[in-house]
């Protein structure tokens, strides 16, 4: 059974704190993604990675950075959290070259920044 695991389901942080969101997949997928999900706005792509050590900006990268040191792990970093980064964060992975582009999602990390 395919699995994308996000280690933190719920986090509460204060403005200015550094936040790490971790994601691990066990499907040997090359591609990994970080989205944020907000009511009425749907899923917006923050960053993605086609392979180890590679990263590409998505639609809303400002205020975020990522790290992909190992194939199975993709981390999202908020260097200095702000209240407008309160959101649900979803990690996803995808097999490179797959026909449909199907994404496999984790269960999400709900971040509240006070």
């Amino acid at each position: 059974d395919v699995k994308v695991t996000q280690s933190s389901r719920y986090l509460v942080k204060r403005t200015g704190e550094k936040v790490f969101l971790e994601c691990v997949q066990d499907m040997d997928h090359e591609n990994m993604f970080w989205y944020r999900q907000d009511p009425g706005l749907g899923l917006r792509l923050i960053y993605f990675s086609y392979d180890v050590k590679m990263k590409e900006k998505g639609d809303i990268p400002e205020g975020y950075s990522v790290s992909r040191e190992k194939k199975e792990r993709f981390s999202l970093i908020l260097e200095s959290a702000s209240t407008n980064q309160t959101s649900m964060y979803l990690c996803a992975s995808r097999l490179a070259g797959g026909n449909t582009g199907e994404l496999f999602f984790g269960e999400g990390s709900r971040l509240t920044v006070l």
Partner: protein, 110 residues
């Protein structure tokens, strides 16, 4: 204009009703059309995908694509309380870009 438009609802129907969920898109350089289902406090999961105009059935679910109108639909027959979830349309474009609709929150009441 967003590339994929979807009415966020919410939509509430009685058990047994036929549900129609819809999206429109603007870019014709697509590969696949998809519907994801997301239960509360869970991540989205792929429900159905199709790439051609017409209908595709899977049990009580039917995905419909009208390329001429740039319109995609998901129909749920004999809806059940277990169908209560947010449904997101998604389009996988030729450039490996995946675009999602805002999601429609559906509640099926017993």
């Amino acid at each position: 204009q967003k590339e994929v438009e979807q009415d966020p609802g919410p939509l509430s129907v009685p058990e047994g009703a036929i549900v129609s969920l819809n999206c429109t898109y603007s870019n014709s350089a697509f590969q696949y059309f998809m519907w994801y289902r997301q239960y509360s406090r869970k991540g989205p999961e792929l429900l159905m995908y199709t790439y051609s105009s017409g209908n595709k059935e899977d049990g009580r679910f039917t995905a419909q694509v009208d390329k001429s109108s740039k319109y995609i639909s998901l129909f749920i027959r004999d809806s059940q309380p277990s169908d209560s979830a947010t449904y997101l349309c998604a389009i996988y474009f030729n450039n490996n870009d995946m675009r999602f609709g805002a999601g429609t929150r559906l509640t099926v009441k017993p």
